[in-house]
Every structure is written in structure tokens, then in C-alpha cells.
Symmetry: C2
Subunit: 151 residues, 2 copies
């Protein structure tokens, strides 16, 4: 796997993951960028908001779409610290995200390179470019630390 320099949006996503952990949420963060400008960001909020859909990607996409006044985030890129699950991969397709950058792979719950592999079926009506690995070591370490504290 190529080693990536951590770009500013992924650095922010990692900071958002740290914020999530501090609030008792699984440490995953996400940032939506258009033309170099951050238009949406978020971290896991499922416990805080009693919302099983409030994964970092969904939160960031909803905020970006609201900010831009458009349900389609055409020309936007999404940076997220962990491989999206099937739900979030589906949301990324519906939102028409142009490029997806994710950090750590998630063999246990991922839906991009693992499991449902949502983008690899004809039923997925939009497929982003996908790049993995940027910040993956840091992202995985945050998750390991979070769950180790809770065992």
C-alpha cells in the first residue's frame, strides 16, 4: 500500500475522531471538501444523539448538503479516518461524492473493500474514486486505544 502524507482535511478528520473519543463515541471523523474549502465535518454521534445512522460520514454529508443547499455533493471529496460501512458507502454514492479518501481498513465492518463492497455492484448508481491508507496508522491506533480502555 502506498504511504500517504496526511493532508489537512485528513488531519482534521483525525482531530474529529479524537473529539468523538473524548465524548465516549467510537473515534471516527469525516470531512467534506469542495474546491479546497471544508463544507461539512462530523464525527460519530450515535450514542449522544440516539441515532444509529449518525456515523461520521453521514453527519458530515448531511451538514455539507445542508450548507450547500443541494442533496448532491457533486465535485466534493470525503475524507474519513476508517473504511466506510455499507450504510455509509451507500450514502457516499447517493451524495455523488467525487473522491473518497479513507484511512484505516476495517475487515470487521467495512463495506468498501470488505463485505458488501457496495461500489462494486450495478445497483450502485454512482461510484467515487477511492483512495485508502492516508492516516490509517493513526486512525487504527485511536480505535485500538478506545476499545482497549473499555474492555
Amino acid at each position: 500500500m502506498a504511504r500517504w502524507q496526511i493532508s489537512p482535511p485528513m488531519a482534521l478528520a483525525l482531530d474529529l475522531a479524537r473529539t468523538a473519543a473524548a465524548g465516549g463515541e467510537v473515534p471516527v471523523g469525516a470531512v467534506v471538501v469542495r474546491d479546497g474549502v471544508i463544507v461539512g465535518e462530523g464525527h460519530n454521534l450515535t450514542r449522544t444523539t440516539c441515532d444509529p445512522t449518525a456515523h461520521a460520514e453521514i453527519v458530515a454529508i448531511r451538514r455539507a448538503a445542508e450548507a450547500l443547499g443541494d442533496e448532491r455533493l457533486t465535485g466534493c471529496d470525503l475524507y474519513v479516518t476508517l473504511e466506510p460501512c455499507a450504510m455509509c458507502a451507500g450514502a457516499i454514492a447517493h451524495a455523488r461524492i467525487g473522491r473518497l479518501y479513507y484511512g484505516a481498513s476495517d475487515p470487521k465492518g467495512g463495506g468498501v473493500e470488505h463485505g458488501a463492497q457496495v461500489f462494486r455492484h450495478a445497483q450502485c448508481l454512482h461510484v467515487p474514486e477511492v483512495y485508502s491508507g492516508m492516516g490509517g496508522g493513526e486512525a487504527a491506533e485511536l480505535l485500538r486505544g478506545f476499545f482497549a480502555e473499555r474492555r
Copy 2:
């Protein structure tokens, strides 16, 4: 496929789909039930709310979880007029929905019996019982009528 009598929650989901169409949204409706009581309902709202994740199932699940004050809808059943897409199937798994009843199959966009088949992978951490076909004819007719008007 077995022919179903349309139960009251699915009849409500069909009514919600009609409401969606009247508002210019793709006609899909969803209802969450626990112990015979409706705890959440919704229809597609992606255009109205500029939210690409606002499919009927997601709207109904978010409302049910908020109403019950719990991100897990254990013991709840979801009725939806159309086969869930990959995003919504993932949300159904995260919400721990017990039984999923859906009306029409969706070969072009479905993620349960088609495409990603989200529930059929080890990465899906909760699998509901799935029943299809109830109200499927009515649900499919609503969708055909909606898209025919727009062509």
C-alpha cells in the same frame, strides 16, 4: 412468492409513499412498530430537506430512535414499501431492527436481495428476519406512476 394481506403498518407506509409523491419526492414510505405501536414513520425527503440520506427508512429509524431514546431499536419491526438500498439495509442492521417487511423488489437499486445484499456478509453485525411482497403491487404502481409523469 406468497401473497400477503396488507397489514395496517404497511397500509400506512403506502399512504406515506403517496404523501411523498404529492410533495415531489420519490414515493417510498416506512413505518417502525414495536409491540403493535407505531414508534416512527417517514417518507423520502431528500429533495425537500437537501439530504441525500433522507430515504424513508432512515427518516423512520431516526424518528423511532429519538422517540424511544435509544440508538438500538431492539424488538422493533420496519415496514417499507420498497426493497431497501445498501445504505438503508446498513441502517436497518445498525438499528437492530428485528423484522423487515418490504413491498416491491428493486432490481435496479436494491441492496437486500439484489446488488450488495448487505445482510449476507459477515461484516453485517445484525441480520433481521426479512419478508418481502406485502403491498408490493401497490408500491410498484406508485413508483411507476410517479416516474411516468416525469418522463
